[in-house]
């Protein structure tokens, strides 16, 4: 299905945010790899650092307050964190593309959708060395990108301002932006949360095609474990700035190991209609003074003495699963 050579390798990434009260130590040594042509899911509680992770890859973290305090991010063997400022835009609008979480904030309210899409297409063409494009050509390219996401009447949408679209429509504008030909790695931050499931299904199939035909790799951030199960080859589970488990998607659902992953899977509302569970007890830690040892220990039903003092590394469990929990190694 996919080759094994890594396209993106995040190693021990640590990021903190300086705020009035002190340093928020958010990412705490994140390790995550995406191979060529692979669809990878990233799941975790609100505020666990998913968006911060992809913003680090894209080098768009606002700094200050953000500070990368450790780690490396290799894209095709090159450390992105060592790129010079002027080299950054070239990765961001060329090979690596992102769909950001909040479509309202990533679209500019004062320009029409058409104008914004055309600017991006122009830029992307320039990267391929094409400077001269007619207005008409740009317009038709923008319209066809919108069509690819199943957007009704692209002509109207191109002339509209973001505020005139429904939530799901805005999201599709951002998705179409990311479907450009040159994209090698797509970082998609909750791209389908505002869409009904039939459109979601159409878009996921479209993303599948991208992977099949162009060998694009995808990192898919979502709260929908159902989508993860359908779309991805492999999953990373994140808790409070750490990767706590990774496995092939099938294994993760049939054999979740980390106490957090288990809690998470139990919380998903089911079609079988057993009601809505109470959720995992407690809440995500304060990043000013995160717990020592395993950051999950204050909420963990299985915690042991060692969990309070020592940070669990990722232990191998079988060939395709790793888990950061002392229940599985010392």
């Amino acid at each position: 299905m996919h080759t094994k050579s890594p396209l993106l390798e995040i190693k021990d990434l640590s990021v903190s945010f300086k705020v009035f009260e002190g340093d928020l130590k958010v990412l705490n040594g994140v390790n995550l790899t995406i191979n060529e042509g692979e669809k990878v899911g990233l799941v975790g509680e609100t505020g666990c650092g998913k968006t911060t992770t992809i913003k680090s890859v894209l080098r768009v973290l606002p700094s200050p307050p953000a500070r990368i305090t450790g780690g490396e991010i290799f894209y095709r063997g090159r450390d992105i964190l060592k790129l010079k400022k002027r080299e950054i835009p070239s990765i961001r609008r060329g090979e690596i593309s992102a769909i950001f979480q909040d479509p309202l904030t990533s679209l500019n309210p004062v320009f029409t959708i058409g104008y914004q899409l055309q600017e991006i297409i122009k830029h992307s063409l320039r990267q391929q060395g094409i400077e001269e494009v007619s207005k008409k050509e740009l317009k038709s390219r923008a319209a066809s990108l919108l069509k690819e996401t199943g957007m009704p009447d692209p002509e109207r949408i191109l002339k509209s301002y973001p505020i005139q679209l429904s939530g799901g429509m805005r999201q599709r504008v951002c998705i179409s932006e990311a479907l450009r030909v040159t994209v090698k790695l797509l970082l998609a931050d909750e791209p389908t949360t505002n869409l009904d499931v039939t459109i979601q299904d159409q878009i996921l199939r479209r993303l599948d095609e991208l992977v099949e035909k162009r060998g694009t790799s995808i990192l898919f951030i979502t709260h929908s474990l159902g989508v993860v199960r359908h779309l991805t080859h492999r999953v990373y589970i994140m808790y409070a700035g750490n990767i706590v488990e990774t496995a092939h998607t099938k294994e993760l659902f049939s054999n979740p190991l980390h106490p957090y992953t288990r809690g998470l899977l139990k919380t998903v509302p089911k079609l079988t209609g057993e009601g809505v569970s109470e959720g995992i007890q407690g809440r995500i830690p304060n990043y000013l003074n995160p717990p020592e040892g395993c950051r999950f220990h204050p909420r963990c039903g299985d915690k042991m003495e060692i969990c309070i003092n020592k940070k669990p590394p990722l232990f191998n469990q079988g060939e395709n699963q790793m888990v950061a929990c002392f229940l599985y190694g010392r």
Binding site: P152, D153, R156, N194, D196, H223, V268, K270, V276
Partner: protein
Amino acid sequence: MTEEIMRVEGLIKHFFTKQGTVRAVDKVSFSIFKGETLGLVGESGSGKTTVAHTLIGIYEPTGGKAYFKDQSLEKDYSGRSKNLKKEIRIVFQDPGSSLNPRWSIKQILELPLKVHGTPVNRDQMKRITELLNMVELPPEEYLYKYPTTIGGGEKQMVAIARALATDPSFIALDEPTSALDVSIQAKIINLLIRLQKKFDLTYLFITHDLSLMRNMANRVAIMYLGKISEVAPTVDFFQKPLHPYTKMLLSSIPVISDDEEDLKPKKVISRGEIPSPVNIPPGCSFHLRCPEKMAVCSKIDPEMVEIEEGHTVRCHLYADG
């Protein structure tokens, strides 16, 4: 649970734009009963938010009628009585942008109290504390915080507290948890269910998450392109879906176990152009995507028919009832 609290009859909301008339809500009719949760699901852009916004008075309807306990909802917010404004409240789709970032949580909760006349300052403070306790945010910790410094789940709790401030009997919940993870979602949903029982609240609950809908709503209404295509009690809706769009919807739910997979109708591949609300096709608006369409479907718009008590559908396959 049979007292009708809201009745919507042929409600229309059109937007007049340079690109043409957007028929966002096009003759929608439904009732909501006291103490129930009516789920509203459907296509992105089908008009769910517009329905909610029209009911709470952000928009004035273009046509049709809506009543809340016999009071007409024909005017927008500026023309409504104080009592009506107090009774009908909303929690918005996006917790981030619906709270003013420059106001502390105390200020955010003060505003509806001022507008609706909780008199003395001391009473106000008492009420704010009470509201925060209702949504399980410790007041000492949250009163003076700003929206930017709290998480998405907490923001939505504040938005719920703001909606509760006027002691309403009806709340429209527009995708209140779609931006949150399942664990925080579970907390908010359980909180909403507890509040509903305690204050006998009626909810209009909009979501794309059908698994959540299954566990939250008493009845479900499906919208497609500005119209309602099916209404049913939740259990019937999942067990005996009638409308082809409903079947497509149910078969596309991404679930997490094989048990659930078995409950879904046979996979209906979703394809085809979604028509535009500016240019609604003649006949049934779903015919362009419908796997079961017949000759009549592209010509005549079907009428709503009742198949079983409380289960209605708008589709030519069921024209004879």
